[in-house]
Each structure stands twice: as structure tokens, then as C-alpha cells.
Symmetry: C2
Amino acid sequence: MRDRFDGVTLNQMVQFSSIDRSFAALADPTRRSVLERLGRGSATISELAEPFGISLTGMKKHVQVLEDAELLTTEKVGRVRRCHLGPRRLDDVQAWVDTYRRMLDERLDRFGELLERTKGNPHE
Amino acid sequence: MRDRFDGVTLNQMVQFSSIDRSFAALADPTRRSVLERLGRGSATISELAEPFGISLTGMKKHVQVLEDAELLTTEKVGRVRRCHLGPRRLDDVQAWVDTYRRMLDERLDRFGELLERTKGNPHE
């Protein structure tokens, strides 16, 4: 068990780390807003920071988290760093959420069937 | 700016906190596996902890995070706490991810059109 971290083997961690980083990056409303802003076109870190009224340092940290999750890429243009939407399409995040919702629906269906059977044969 | 936290007003925080908690809860592979396990039926905290080889205390922390995100409910049965899938259907998470992916597709479409126009009129 010594090679385990939080109950998950290192292999599993590597396998899961990309989706983990995506979910973690999206858990912050400022970071989600930054991605929505970049959907309208690229922006410098100052341009991203300004509407939120946060410091450049604060925005740089958010940008770094998004860059680590490959949701954003940065490019140095002269002395300024421009941010663009990154290559990740969130396929794995969407697939996980879809599967989870289907699982919930199936549980509800089974519960509904059980209820129907009980209604049809109240003394069984 | 004093009433702001991380550039987001308190109102926005309250408004966004449910989706924030969902994304954060799903950022851990053990917690996602716990939800998948509960999709097959309810379980005690010991039953959840065992296959991961983690302590009861460790699993209790994960269960608490999932419960705070309303992805899981717990019920005391005698001296044992049973866990069930919670009421959240991740509608907001799914909606955000869908919107993001549509936004990416639109950007790619615009880029493709630009490329087509450039090919059609190479000297323009």
C-alpha cells in the first residue's frame, strides 16, 4: 500500500490526471469566465484581469492552472503574453458526466418499475 | 474591492457555489469511483473504503465532500452510516461543458471558413 496515494495507484493517477485537472480547473467561477472570454477571442493577461478587478499575479495563477489542464495556451508576443483557448475539448469530462446521468436515470427507472409492480399487486 | 473574493463578488459566489462544489468533488478519481459504485446500490463507508485500501477516516472525508456537493446522501441505520447517490443530476455541469464545446466548434468553423476563403482567393 506504500505506493498508493489516496487509495489510487500511481498508474491510475497518471491515467486519470488529465480529467482530474480539467474538473479542478473548472471548479472556479473566475477560471470558467476566463474560458468564456477567450471563446470570443484571444486576450492578454491584463485584459483578462481587468474585468474581474483582480491583480495580474492573481490572474497569472488562474492562467497557469488552465494551462496545466491544457484548456488554455499562452504565446509570448513581444513583451506581452497572449492567451488562447487550448486544445482540450473536454471529451472525457462530457463522457463521465453523461455516463453518470444515464446511471441515475436507470436507477430511477428501476425504482419506478418497482413502484408499478407494488401498485399492481399490493398484497404481494 | 474589499467585498470581493478572488475577483468575484459574494453574490456571484453564492450563485455559482453549487456548480463549483460539483466540479471540485469530481476532480478526484476516488470520489468519482465512489459515485460509480453507488450507482450499483447503496453502501456503508467501510464497504466503500475496502476496495480502495484506504482508511475509514480517509473515506469519510471523501464522503463529506460528495455530501456537501449533494452528489451523495447518508443515512444512519443502527450504528452504521449508509451512503446513497444524492439528488444532484449535474444539469449545470453538463450545460456548462456543452456550451464550452459548442463555443470551441464555432471557433473551429470560423477558422475553417477563413482558410477556405484564403484558398479560393490566394492573392487577396
